[in-house]
Amino acid sequence: MRGRRAAFLAAGLLLAAGWAPSAFGAELTGFVSGRRVSPVVFMLAALALGVLIQGLRVRERGLPLVRGVTTLSIFLLLWEFAVWVGLITTILLPPPTLVLQKLDALWLSGYLGWHLLSTLRRFTLSFALAVGTAFPLGVLVASIPRAFALLHPVITFVRMIPAPAWAPLSILWLGLGDPPAIFIVWLAIFFPIFLNTIRGIHDALPVYREVIRTLGGGRWDEVREATVPSALPAVLTGIRVGFGFGWVVLATAELIATDSGLGWLIHVAYTQVDSPTVLAAMTLICWTGVLLNSGLRELERRLVPW
């Protein structure tokens, strides 16, 4: 645990070195003021981080975090170095320092934050819609006998159409902008939750329902006390799968259909051959996705301890 804390401390120090204006003189404050960080300083910092982490490894062997950070710093180092000596053209693959500078400048101007909020708004809206429709519909279909058996062929067929394939039709129906994006993200999240709800309810042991019956509960008690809780783990699996699909489909939808959001930013920066912004937006999408995903995991652990 000590090694882990030390690694976090080292990473924090490095970040602070970049962000705190007075700490290391003018050169390192570059990316706060919008100027570029010197490649030399960046490479030295990455190298220092790597060495530091490797030094810690001697005490805490086999720490995955230490190794991971080591590779990352070597990777960044090589990347920066390759651009610096001219192995790669900056337009094709801008160096990390340039990407950092873009991230910083776009973030400070509020541009990146606005698009991030736009993406998040779209995602939460479709996610809430999908959970709010898929779960009740799943419970409904599962509790009507033979309903699922009748619907199954149609569902199988519709599910074989990937959500992005609905994009042209939904753009035609709803126009460009938010509605088609929300529609196809909703569709991508809907099916995993819907099908998992049905499966969870079908797989639930009938004993619990019979216990409720024996104790004098009605049909509603049965659904609320036995069916839903026993299906909940499967539902949450569906939510996690749908969450991943939805995030990917949202990126697609924003590339094609919308006029804001991180996907749109990537697309527009690409049309202007502004590859630092493309990479900055990709980085932000990556971080956001990872953060949301770990948040969801935490939520799942709290909600379904059984």
Binding site: L72, H152, P153, P164, L169, A251, I285
Partner: protein
Amino acid sequence: MDPEAARRLLFDKAPTGGWTSLYEYVYDPAPVLSSEAFLLAIVAVVGLLWAVRRFTPPVLARGGLTIGVVLVLWEAVPTLGILNPVFFPPPTAVLDKMAVHWQRGWLPQHILASLGRFSIAFGLAIAIGVPTGFLISLSSRLWGYVGSILYFIRGIPPPAWLPIFILWAGAGNPAAVFVVFLGAFFPILIGTVDGFKKADPVQIETVRTFGGNRFDVFWEVQVPTSLPDIVIGIRIGLGIGWMMLIAAELAVARLGTGVGWMITHARIWYDSAVIMGGMVVIAIMGLAVDLVLRRALARWADLPRA
């Protein structure tokens, strides 16, 4: 073009339906099936399936009934004028357009292009994903070092890679193949790693006791036990890869081929019949690819039939 045809194109067709009719003129779709014949055929097929339901698996009669009802509703709603046929064309119109596309050789070309892209990317994903999974599992040290980079690459939705990859490799097949590869690679990798963990220590010890070396343990115990999970990973990768194929074909307008490109091109012409036909073709292709893969993989693992 002779003057008479030019006059017809300009003055006879255009005023009645605008752009769409110009498109019709270029297409010249001949009606394949009238509405009445279509409805009759559906009633006949569903009735036949229902009549012989004792001798066939129950899926056929039930599925026929549900799909028949859906098709009849789909035909009736635009034909009766409840929805505008320009945006919601009946299946007979879809059939007409698809017949033209098939006769002129466009549809086969698009299907082959999509399948070619998909099989190259998916083959690469299996060929690289499974060995990488094995390597990572064999050495926890390697996993510690490579994991962080893979984690960040995985965090970026594959479609978001499109613009930067188009900058690197041009707006052609490589970009689409790369996106499909990224989509399919990670589930296969994770499946391999998961399966590897399930190797029974007792079996490993047994092989060791009988004088087996590390390779024997790998080949006789660890590979066979991880096969079912690899197969699961491959099937998940198939779903995501298929979705990524359509997304890439939608987003890379310069591809010029592929079923996804066909539907997004049809959107520009407001040709919803071709969009719907393309979606049906995509669904059928997805079912076929899934079926073929399931047959091929059935040797390696017990797969659910539905």
